[in-house]
């Protein structure tokens, strides 16, 4: 690789020293062929990237479309095969009709967003003045329009999952603080100007969260 190509490559990576950068700029100013090399390098990077992205985008779209519509295939079969298939399909249809909401999860929980949020340590008189950073937990909001409560939660393995009847309520969670009692290993949520609530850990069903965000 020539020195000029090295300069272009290092410039693209952002690894030129001050002296090399001055050399690069002088060439860019005074040497039209160097400028042409720089431009070609930039364009090649763009074109190769765009081409691969296009192939990937088309492949992903095709895979999604295939998953949505799966065509029936196969050659000719005896009539009793079709009759059997029709019976099975009918039976499946009936079962599906009965269980449809639980199978599809229609209007079931849907992930709205997730963020990693810092936890503050609950400090007492003996620890006051120390840094109160207590680590972080994942906070996930799901919208579940089927639930009765405006807000429920599960908390397990450092992940707090909040189920909201209305997804717009996620914005009201911004001022809510997460507090950790290190002695008792308990996590609390504290909405502004409201008492803190203890979170139960790893229960089977989502629990109501008794504050309106």
């Amino acid at each position: 690789m020539t020195d000029r190509q090295q300069l272009i490559r290092k410039h693209r990576q952002g690894t030129l020293t001050d002296a090399e950068y001055q050399e690069y700029l002088a060439l860019l100013r005074d040497d039209p062929t160097f400028q042409e090399d720089v431009e070609l390098d930039r364009m090649l990077t763009q074109v190769t990237r765009q081409d691969k992205n296009r192939l990937l985008w088309e492949a992903v779209q095709a895979a999604e479309a295939d998953a949505t519509v799966r065509p029936l295939s196969g050659g000719s079969r005896p009539w009793n095969t079709y009759a059997m298939a029709a019976c099975v399909a009918g039976l499946l249809g009936w079962v599906t009709w009965l269980l449809w909401p639980s199978i599809t999860g229609s209007s079931g929980p849907e992930l709205v967003r997730t963020e990693k949020r810092d936890v503050r340590l609950l400090l007492d008189e003996t620890t006051k003045g120390y840094d109160d950073y207590g680590g972080s937990v994942w906070l996930r909001w799901f919208e579940n329009s089927r639930q009765q409560e405006p807000q429920t939660y599960t908390f397990c393995r450092d992940t707090l999952t909040v189920y909201l009847k209305n997804s717009r309520d996620t914005t009201q969670w911004q001022p809510v603080q997460l507090l950790f009692n290190a002695d008792q290993r308990k996590l609390y949520v504290q909405p502004p100007n409201q008492p803190r609530r203890l979170l139960s850990e790893c229960l089977d069903n989502p629990q109501p969260l008794s504050f309106t965000p």
Binding site: L16, L28, R29, D37, L44, A59, A62, E110
Partner: protein, 409 residues
């Protein structure tokens, strides 16, 4: 429960195999196979987050699968976090994909404010560069930033990137996984990261650190040359003087405006590369029109198009870039022309170019790495690559300023 352990291990997707597959995508067939595997592996998990029976989720699901493919391809060799925490990563990816989907409908400012985690990731990277002992130009510049500057530069970097993304026409995976978090792929934001840092340092921390302006002016000079110089004939001295005059004038105008930016930095956002911004000045100047039409030897008269330079620059003052759509169209035209030229190369030459440039959505792959894969010596690869570049340059020149270039200028 031990009796049924094999059931749970069967259900667990083989992420490692997927990661290995993502490193060897060489053609359309392998990309297709890879995307099918990603879909098959993650569809059940994604269904539990974004139910497929809700039609409104369909575009978002496609975007998530697309980004997931990009993220897996750009995983570091030694990354184990994704394999053990793929559910958490998917949740994070869905969140940023929602952000990506809304980009076309909101301003760069609103988009930058809408996701704090992406901005924080840029800020963290600035801190990392500040703490690094490396002796590069950009490390030194970033070390000049004060702690209070970091969130500002991070926000401006994100804004500039969003503005660029909104202008482009093609789909592109934006995210990768680094330090156990999903963030914007650094190679995509790198140019803005360096330029916004340098711009802020130049405004407030080191007024002599103006190398980034020379860098942009070099590109402006190249842009003018490509439009006005016919490769068949050596340029006349008056033409070269005309080019230098325009570059000097653009530099002078920009430096004058810098004083205004210093006084009120919130009034100005560089929502593009500086070169693109300065080319916007050139496009609206009378002098470039004279160079393009060969009238540069005559004095400028009052009734010639386009409008007065100072008026044109006035538009740019607010941070609204002049003629940015033209810039995107023009890039598309140049890329199409380059693709035509690449079609005239041999398959081997094309393969080496594709393998060298952006093989895994990050930086170029060194020839030393490619040598064993392509079963050729480094010298041989470099020779073929250089020969290909010469052919492309000759083809791309194609006889001086075209009608399209005249029109877009």
């Amino acid at each position: 429960m031990a009796l049924f352990d094999f059931l749970s291990s069967r259900r667990k997707p083989d992420i490692q195999a997927l990661v290995r597959q993502g490193r060897h995508l060489t053609d359309a067939a392998s990309i297709r196979e890879f995307s099918n595997q990603v879909r098959a592996t993650f569809a059940p998990l994604l269904d539990s987050r974004l139910p497929p029976n809700n039609p409104a989720n369909s575009p978002l699901r496609t975007t998530v699968f697309f980004e997931l493919c990009g993220l897996i391809q750009t995983l570091l060799e030694d990354d184990r976090y994704f394999i053990s925490h793929y559910e958490t990563v998917l949740d994070e990816l869905i969140t940023v994909c929602r952000w990506k989907q809304q980009l076309s409908n909101v301003s760069p400012e609103a988009a930058a404010a809408a996701d704090k985690s992406l901005q924080l990731a840029i800020q963290k990277r600035l801190t990392y560069w500040q703490n690094s002992q490396k002796g590069t130009h950009h490390h030194r510049i970033i070390r000049l930033l004060h702690p209070d500057d970091l969130p500002i530069v991070a926000r401006r970097t994100l804004r500039a990137f969003v503005a660029r993304y909104k202008r482009q026409q093609s789909e592109e995976p934006l995210f990768w996984l680094r330090e156990e978090r999903v963030e914007l792929c650094f190679p995509l934001i790198k140019d803005y990261f360096f330029e916004q840092s340098a711009f802020w340092v130049f405004l407030f921390r080191g007024p002599n650190e103006a190398a980034f302006i020379d860098d942009a002016l070099g590109n402006v000079r190249g842009w003018i040359r490509r439009r006005v110089i016919d490769d068949e004939r050596p340029p006349e001295p008056e033409l070269l003087n005309g080019i230098n005059d325009i570059v000097s004038k653009v530099q002078f105008d920009f430096m004058q405006k810098v004083e205004g930016f210093r006084a009120n930095p919130d009034s100005f956002y560089l929502d593009a590369g500086l070169a693109t911004y300065l080319i916007g000045f050139v496009k609206q100047s009378r002098a470039i029109w004279k160079l393009l039409t060969g009238l540069y030897k005559q004095p400028i008269s009052d009734n010639e198009p386009p409008a007065d330079e100072d008026e044109a620059v006035g538009d740019a003052d607010t941070g609204n870039l002049p003629a940015t759509d033209d810039a995107a169209d023009e890039d598309d035209y140049l890329y199409a022309k380059l693709r035509q030229c690449m079609a005239s190369l041999s398959q081997e030459e094309r393969d080496i170019i594709y393998a060298h440039h952006d093989h895994d959505y990050s930086d170029t792959v060194p020839f030393e790495t490619l040598a064993s894969r392509l079963k050729k010596s480094v010298k041989s690869l470099e020779g073929i690559y250089k020969r290909s570049l010469d052919k492309l340059k000759k083809c791309a020149r194609g006889g001086g300023a075209s009608q399209h270039q005249l029109a877009t200028a």
